[in-house]
């Protein structure tokens, strides 16, 4: 490059202009290629959801689902005929309080009960758990206490223990606590989450490190105790990190299939939405109409998460970029 510049300097400005033009053109071509690849990729990312939504309005497997590639054109009319001219027929199959698929499969729990379960399992432990994680993060980042580093290392070691290797004993523990039943099943999904999560605590701790300690010192001089410092300063100031971590764990809990299925698989009143959806799939047998209900359930289980993500995408993506974490 250096040599080129040297040889170029005496050449007329016309050549320079030409070079700039060709550079501009090559950037344009690169931009076009970039857009083509990214839009094609976005299509692949979104198509399954489009298919899922279309299939959820399908009263019979024979119509939309097997033939749909791009747009359900001539099949809509015949599909509506199958569905008694009711667009939400499949949703009604699933949700009906008396003869609905949900009531039939769970033996009495309506879809609203299942949704309420899912909400309880994802809101209560997340709200409380994020706050307990944040308080631990505060203690790690801003307070000096005897044993802090040891405790930190011990918690770090706990991450090394994979969930599946201890889940059998966790099941036995919950069973001996008397948590495993239709009425107390929620305890299994809620209580362990109340104590906070190590990863969340680490990420908030990382966030708090960036905060100046002088604020806390100033508050201390003004006579504020740690309790007031935490609620008055730390929680509001770390709100972006707390919100983002809370939203991510909410989505994780809302989608928690494995935990609910292995612990509460036989207690149908305590199921959450993902378990219900998988149970619909087991229940289909030869009844093609139930496929529509299966995807109606699927859409219901992804919709709240999509809406939340749509509203808070800036905070979530920003937090992911910041902490380098991922769900």
């Amino acid at each position: 490059m250096a040599e080129e510049i040297l040889t170029q300097t005496p050449v007329a400005p016309k050549v320079k202009e030409k070079k700039a033009a060709s550079k501009k053109r090559s950037k344009l071509i690169a931009d076009i290629i970039t857009y083509v690849i990214l839009i094609l990729g976005s299509f692949i990312m979104l198509y399954p959801f489009w298919w899922m939504i279309a299939a959820s309005f399908d009263g019979s497997m024979l119509h939309i689902q097997s033939g749909l590639v791009w747009w359900p054109t001539d099949t809509i009319a015949s599909n509506l005929a199958v569905c008694n001219n009711d667009l939400f027929y499949t949703y009604k199959i699933l949700m009906d309080g008396e003869i609905g698929l949900c009531v039939k499969i769970t033996g009495g729990a309506t879809i609203w009960r299942i949704i309420a379960n899912t909400l309880i399992y994802s809101i209560v432990p997340v709200v409380v758990g994020v706050l307990t994680s944040a308080s631990a993060a505060f203690a790690f980042a801003k307070i000096e206490w005897v044993g802090r580093d040891v405790v930190f290392m011990v918690l770090l070691a706990a991450i090394m223990i994979p969930g599946p290797s201890i889940m059998v004993i966790q099941y036995c523990m919950y069973s001996s606590f008397g948590w495993l039943s239709n009425d107390t099943g929620w305890m299994v999904m809620v209580i362990p989450g109340l104590f906070g999560s190590i990863m969340t605590a680490f990420f908030i701790r990382q966030f708090l490190y960036g905060m100046p300690t002088s604020i806390i010192e100033a508050a201390k001089i003004d006579g504020a105790g740690y309790w007031r410092i935490f609620w008055g300063f730390i929680v509001p100031l770390a709100m972006p990190a707390i919100m983002a971590q809370g939203l991510l764990s909410f989505m994780g809990c809302w989608n928690n299939y494995m935990g609910c299925w292995i612990m509460l698989g036989s207690f149908k009143m305590a199921w959450n939405l993902p378990v219900l959806v998988s149970a619909i799939s087991d229940n289909i047998g030869g009844d093609l109409q139930k496929y529509g209900a299966l995807f109606a359930g699927s859409v219901m289980s992804i919709l709240p998460v999509l809406i939340l993500f749509g509203v808070f995408q800036k905070q979530i993506i920003g937090s992911l970029m910041l902490t380098g974490s991922k769900e």
């Binding site: 250096a2 857009y35 990729g41 004993i169 001996s176 006579g223 959806v277 699927s298 991922k326 769900e327």
Partner: protein, 363 residues
């Protein structure tokens, strides 16, 4: 805190009147009290997390470890605590005490006959095949990383709407595995969209596509297309998270170094390999570690895609064996064996992590 403040004032007053030495002596007290406060509140703020981790992770781990040498099953007719009252070591099928029997059973691939009859019965689901499936699914990790690297580089270009692309690519990451799995199951049906597009009737998931294992062909061919579907799905689902990680890594690459390299005559390919990649190394390492640890625990995807109730040794991962013996074996849930299986998984993941950290250090 209130009295601490007033005491500080008192120190100031005495310092004025009685001199420096006395002041120093008195100052010690508030500092100690501050330390006490620090210790109390530090532990208090951490207490919930510590208690939760101790009870639900460490105690559970310890019990798992102990019980893996015992014989605790759902037929024992005792709760966990009751069983601890009459703990007994595992006996093998001949009635001899053999604490490592649960672990030995893991490695037995066919019945072992001793002098006095069949001593050890092999599981129907061979652990090695499940481990093979688990590792096979990790083909998705390099594929996903290369794809997301390309996408991240494209998104980091100076174009409009790169934020929107990040959002779109991240959507699969946040949606329910269950919903997505059933969609893919139907997309890959023999009459599904994928076959419609390809104009083929490939049996992706119906039955045991390419089940060569029984004709003397190597067993890894069994269910090959089903495994491919699982890989496609997990790459599709995990892509967005890695893309965002790499975008974050790319934005951290030193722009000045890049410019210096381009002035020195490096083309963009060389800049990518010599400047960008070394800066991205920590991100790549982090991604590999977390993906391998996560990949070892694959469970829901194959289980849901192919709807097996027991263990399907053509597609299921290792964790399916734990869930089967610990939860779904209706005749007898063998908790102790589940614990042994879990301990083995822990050791595998520990070794893998240590190897990765060692490699990282050598670089």
């Amino acid at each position: 805190m209130e009295d601490l403040f007033s005491e500080n004032k008192a120190v100031e007053v005495t310092a004025d009147s009685t001199g420096v030495a006395a002041a120093k002596k008195k100052e010690k007290k508030p500092i100690n009290q501050q330390k006490l406060q620090d210790n109390i509140w530090g532990w208090a703020f951490c207490a919930p997390l510590i208690i939760g981790t101790l009870v639900f992770v460490f105690v559970a781990f310890l019990i798992s470890f102990i019980l893996s040498f015992c014989n605790y099953t759902s037929n024992s007719g005792a709760t966990l605590w009751e069983y601890f009252g009459r703990l007994s070591l595992k006996k093998n099928e001949l009635g001899e005490i053999s604490p490592f029997y649960n672990y030995i059973r893991l490695f037995i691939t066919s019945d072992v006959v001793t002098g006095s009859g069949t001593a050890v019965t092999a599981d129907n689901d061979n652990m090695w095949r499940l481990l093979f499936n688990t590792v096979f699914y990790m083909i998705g990790i390099p594929v996903g990383m290369i794809l997301s690297m390309v996408l991240a580089v494209l998104m980091s270009r100076d174009i409009k709407g790169s934020g929107l692309f990040r959002v779109i690519y991240y959507i699969p990451c946040i949606t329910s595995t269950v919903a997505v799995t059933f969609t893919f199951q139907n997309l890959f049906k023999s009459t599904g969209v994928i076959n419609n597009l390809l104009g083929q009737t490939i049996q992706w998931t119906d039955g045991y596509a390419m089940k060569f294992g029984e004709n003397g062909d190597p067993y890894w061919c069994g269910g090959l297309l089903m495994k491919v579907v699982v890989i496609i799905m997990s790459v599709w689902k995990g892509l967005g998270g890695t893309v965002i990680l790499f975008c974050a890594g790319l934005s951290g690459v030193n722009a000045a170094t890049k410019e210096a390299a381009s002035i020195d005559g490096a083309n963009s390919w060389m800049i990518f390999w010599k400047v960008t990649m070394p800066d991205l190394a920590p991100t790549i390492f982090y991604t590999i570690v977390t993906s391998v640890i996560g990949g070892m625990q694959i469970y829901a995807e194959p289980q849901l895609l192919f709807g097996s109730t027991g263990v399907n040794e053509f597609v299921d991962g290792y964790v399916a064996k734990i869930t089967y013996y610990g939860f779904f074996n209706t005749s007898n849930k063998n908790y102790s064996y589940g614990c042994a299986l879990g301990m083995f998984l822990f050791v595998i993941i520990l070794i893998l992590t240590l190897i990765q950290f060692k490699l990282q250090k050598e670089d």
